[in-house]
Symmetry: C2
Amino acid sequence: MISVDEARRLILAALAPTGAETVGLGQAAGRVLAAPVLARLTQPPADVSAMDGYAVRAAEAGKGATLRVIGAAPAGHPFEGKVRAGEAVRLFTGSVVPDGADSVLIQEDATAEGGLITVNESCAAGKNIRRKGQDFAASEVLIAAPKRLTARDIGLAAAGNHPWLAVHRRPRVAILATGDEISLPGEEIGPGGIVSSNAHALAAFVMESGGEAVILPIAKDTLEAIAAGAAAAKGADLLVTTGGASVGDHDLVQQGLAGSGLALEFWKIAMRPGKPLMFGAVGELPLLGLPGNPVSAMVCALLFLRPAIERLSGLQGEAPATEPALLTTAMKANDHREDYVRATLTREGDAWRVTPFPTQDSGMLKTLAHAQALIKRKPNEPGLAPGSLVQIVRLGGRD
Amino acid sequence: MISVDEARRLILAALAPTGAETVGLGQAAGRVLAAPVLARLTQPPADVSAMDGYAVRAAEAGKGATLRVIGAAPAGHPFEGKVRAGEAVRLFTGSVVPDGADSVLIQEDATAEGGLITVNESCAAGKNIRRKGQDFAASEVLIAAPKRLTARDIGLAAAGNHPWLAVHRRPRVAILATGDEISLPGEEIGPGGIVSSNAHALAAFVMESGGEAVILPIAKDTLEAIAAGAAAAKGADLLVTTGGASVGDHDLVQQGLAGSGLALEFWKIAMRPGKPLMFGAVGELPLLGLPGNPVSAMVCALLFLRPAIERLSGLQGEAPATEPALLTTAMKANDHREDYVRATLTREGDAWRVTPFPTQDSGMLKTLAHAQALIKRKPNEPGLAPGSLVQIVRLGGRD
C-alpha cells in the first residue's frame, strides 16, 4: 500500500489544468488567473494629493505666511494653471497637484478667510504628495498567474483598467455514487436502505473548492449501471466515484469500468479512514474512487480531491495545511497507516487545544459534521500523553 | 472618535437577520441555516455490518469451527431468514445483520470453500456491528440553527433525509462608489481620473462573505447623483458607499443623503487606515460609509462589512480572528488609533513570522493585494523590537 503523500503525488502528476476562458471582472473572484494581469495605466496617473488641503510652494509657505487661493482642483478636475509665489490651490485627496506646487499643506494646518489662507504649520517640499506611479507603472505585472483571485486582486485588476480577465475554466467534476442500498433524499427508501449522502456532500465540497459538480444518477450495483454512469461523465475533467472500491463481492466499480478502458494507477493506500482509495483513468477521463463510508469519503476529499481540483484549476495542488495544537487527552500508538482523527478545538490564549472524539467509526456522519479539526498521526507514531504537541488540519467553515 | 470594537458593536446592534427561504440541498452549502435540521430517520436503520464478512453466532464461531453459508445479504438486500447454530450469512459493509446472528466475522479471518467457511480467528459477540442509531436517532437535532452550512453538514442533512433546507436569504448589499474622478474599467478616463476599483473589490468581498452584491452606477460628486444612488438601493439590506466620507468640500455623501432621511450613528473612528468610517441609516436602510481610499475601504470591509453581512445572514457577526506571529523587524510606537498594518508572512516550524511592508500608504492597492496579513496594533502600543509577539489577522485566499 502506498503512502498518503505518494498517492497525492501520483494523482497530481496525472492531471493537467483546464483551458482559459474570458470572464468579466465581476465573475473573476475565486477563479484562477490564467494569464498575468499587466497594468494598462500608471497609478497614480500624476502626482496627487494624499490629503485634503492646499497645493503650495514649500519655500514660500512657512509658518505665518499668507497665500492667495487662486483656484480649486477637486479630484477629477485638475487645475489648469500654475501655482506661483504667494499662491495656493485648494486640493482634495486624489487631486492632481498643479504645476508649480511642490507640497500639500493639510487643511488642518491652514486658516482660510476671504480667498486667503494663513499657514499655521510649515510643510516640507514633497509632503502629502503621492508620486505618479507610486502604486504601479503602466505595463508592470500586477498579478502573476496562476493565482486564485481574491477580492483585493479584483480591485487591483480594476485599478489597472481590466474589465475582463483570463481565468482557467472551472474543472467539471462528475460524481457517481453507487450502491443498491442508497436513495436520494426524500425518495422512497428500500428495506435496510439508507439515504445517499456522499454525492451531495462531495458536490458541495467540489463547488467550495472552485469546481463545477455534476451529480450523476445513482448507479445500482450492476456492471451495466456503473458503465452507464461513467459514460454519462463525458466531458468531465474528473470522475469521482464513491463506494464500490473496497474488496467485497458487491464492489463492482472496477469490474464495471473494465470494459470502458479502466487503467488503475493505484488502489488502497496506507491511511485511515480511507484505505480503499483508487486512482486511475477510464480512457482519457481521470478517475478518483473514494470509499463509500461517508467519513472516509470526506476525509479523502480533503486530502486528495481538493488538491486535484486545485491542479485542474491551474494551481499546483497541495496537501491541506497543518498547524500545531496541544492534545487534551492521551492517544494510543498508531499502526502502519497514517491516521486522520476527528476532533474538536478550543482556543486557550495563543494555542489550540484539540480533543479527539472518543468514537472514530467511519460511519458516523454526525461526528464528522461536528468536527473542527483532524489530528494527523504519522504511521507507527507512538502513544501520546495529554499535553503532547500534535499537527492538525483545521476543518474550515465550509469544508 | 469611537474605538473599532465600539463601532462594530453599534453596527451589529442595528442590523437584523434576513428572512428564511427554502432551497434545495444542492444550493444550501455556504448558506446560513434558519431552522434546525431534525433527523427524519434513524441511522443506521438497523444493526449493520461495519465490514465485509459473515454474520455468525459468536458462541458457535470459535477458531476452527466450520459454518454453512446459508445466504448472502448485500447492502440494500437484507437476508430474510434467521441464522442458527452452525450457520453463517455473507455480509458486506452496510448490510443488515440478520436475525439470530450476534457478530460479524471479517472475511480475512475466514476461509470459504464449497458453501462452507472455516473460522481462522474467533470473534466476540457484537464485533464489527454498527448498532441501529449509532450515528443518530429519528427526531434528533442534527444541525442547530443558525450555522453556515459546510459540505459535511450537507452530507448529514442528506443522510437525515432532507431534500430541502430553510436558510436565511442572502443579504443584498448595494454598493455606491462616488466621485467625479472615477471611471469603470475599460471606459474613458478623464484628465487626472482613475479607474474605480472599490466597487468591484467590495462586490467580490460581499459575495465571498455570503451576500449578494448590487453595484450601483457610479455617482458623480453632486447632491442629486448621490441621492439618486441611494434611491436605487431600494430593497437592499445594506447600502455601502465608498468615498465622500472624509472632511473635504467634495465629500458630499452626507449632504447628498440628508434629504433622503440620513440618520448618522457615528462618523470617524479611531483606526488606521480608515478613520472616516460612517454608519447610520437612510430611512430604514442601514448605511455603511467606507473611506474612498481602496486600502482603507478593504480593511474596513474586513473589520466591519464582513461581520455586518454575517449578522444580516443570521449569524452573530464577529471581529476577524487573530493569531500570534513573530515580528521580523522593529515597529515604532503606535498613536491613539488602532492600526492595521499590511504585511507578508512566512512559516518557520510552527510559528508565523510577519514582516510589515515598509510603505503603508493607503493609496497602494498593489501592496494590499500582495499582503498576507494585517498586524493589529492597539492604540498607544509602545514600539516593538524584532522578535516581538504580535497579533495578526490572516488575509484568507479570497478576502
